[in-house]
């Protein structure tokens, strides 16, 4: 170990110190980001103090041809039997 030049030993010590400091810095910032994102999600979920967001109106489905509750197989059955007005199937 004594044969290693002092310059190299110093450089490796600096490298190790840099890595230790970088780990500490990154850990601090990641902890902050976790806290920040958690609080931000909480604030957005509360919703009462959200400013600048457009009001989303409930979609008007009265004019829809598909029954509003129809899902999966029910919707498929409806679509299979669906035909526009005055439609005459080709036989």
């Amino acid at each position: 170990m004594k044969r290693v030049p002092q310059v190299v030993t110093d450089m490796l010590h600096e490298l190790a110190t840099f890595h230790k400091n970088e780990v500490s810095r990154l850990h601090n910032v990641l902890e902050y980001l976790v806290d920040l994102n958690r609080c931000r999600i909480g604030a957005l979920k509360q919703g009462f103090n959200i400013v600048g967001q457009p009001e989303v109106l409930e979609a008007d489905i009265s004019a829809s041809l598909l029954p509003p509750k129809a899902m999966r197989l029910d919707a498929l059955d409806f679509l299979k039997s669906f035909a526009p007005a005055h439609y005459v199937p080709f036989v």
């Binding site: 170990m1 290693v4 190299v8 030993t9 450089m11 490796l12 010590h13 600096e14 490298l15 190790a16 840099f18 890595h19 970088e22 780990v23 810095r25 990154l26 850990h27 601090n28 910032v29 990641l30 902890e31 902050y32 980001l33 976790v34 806290d35 920040l36 994102n37 958690r38 609080c39 931000r40 604030a43 957005l44 103090n49 959200i50 400013v51 600048g52 967001q53 457009p54």
Partner: protein, 272 residues
């Protein structure tokens, strides 16, 4: 061939946060290199013929395994030499003849961020090379629930309003909490309703404001600028000792005094 895509910042973060996940391109390259290294042990002549073919190939359209390897390496900025050594950017280098498969993979994974950074043109990449294993080690120290929040933060899960507006023109570009213009730095450093969180983490705020402003966009550990010098120094060491020829079948016992400085840091470790 695995096509080369313009890697995005989120992708870089994603692979930096995991010690196991690999970019598909890197995975393919490591598979080829491992195969050649194993072939080097079993049938050295065959392996060296592949290396020679790869060295001779200078086209852009690969037509076989050797030329494909050469093409991949040139995409990454690496060169293959007739003595089966590979040299890359930033003084990275391995030998397909002498180094183990594990070491070859380790060096390529370490050099990978350099390739990604040179293919990125995004905010937050900065003028530094990310330290892959350091980021992954810090990330792994967080519990799973917090890791999921950090992953979303790093890969674009919490989009700013300007990004959301690209998909939905009705979305305003203002912050939903305070009404000011929404941006990464606004969320991290300025948003008034989140001031209480900032007060709890004064050290982190100081780091983001002065030491690592690029972490506002993506928090990735930096590589030390000394790491390049260290690699350059290690390349100057020549192992030309007259080592005895050992019988592979016999048991070999090596003794060391175990002395080492910085034993927990692979890059700064110095063993006797």
């Amino acid at each position: 061939m695995v096509s080369v895509i313009l890697h995005r910042l989120g992708l870089l973060a994603f692979f930096s946060l995991s010690q196991r996940l690999l970019d598909p391109l890197l995975y393919v390259i490591l598979s080829i290199l491992r195969s050649i290294r194993r072939l080097m042990t079993i049938c050295q002549d065959e392996a060296m013929s592949i290396v020679r073919l790869a060295c001779q190939f200078d086209g852009t359209r690969p037509f076989g395994p050797a030329s494909t390897l050469k093409r991949y390496l040139s995409i990454l900025g690496w060169q293959i030499h007739p003595d089966a050594s590979l040299s890359g950017p930033e003084h990275f280098g391995v030998s397909l003849m002498d180094d183990s498969c594990d070491w070859i993979c380790k060096v390529f994974r370490q050099a990978w961020p350099h390739f990604l950074i040179t293919n990125l043109n995004r905010k937050g990449t900065g003028d530094f090379i990310p330290h892959h294993s350091l980021t992954a080690r810090v990330f792994a120290s967080f519990p799973p629930e917090e890791q999921s929040l950090l992953i979303r933060n790093a890969v674009g899960g919490f989009q700013i309003a300007a990004t959301q507006k690209m998909w939905d023109s009705d979305t305003p570009i203002t912050c939903p909490l305070c009404g000011l213009e929404d941006s990464r730095s606004h969320r991290c450093l300025e948003c008034i309703p989140l001031a209480e969180v900032r007060n709890r983490h004064p050290d982190a705020i100081a780091i983001l404001q002065s030491e690592r402003p690029d972490w506002v966009f993506i928090p990735l550990a930096h590589s030390s600028p000394d790491a390049i010098v260290q690699r350059a120094f290690l390349k100057t060491i020549k192992f030309d000792y007259d080592l005895p020829q050992l019988d592979v079948g016999s048991k070999i016992t090596l003794y060391t005094d175990g002395g080492a400085t910085n034993p927990c840091d692979a890059e700064a470790r110095l063993a006797s």
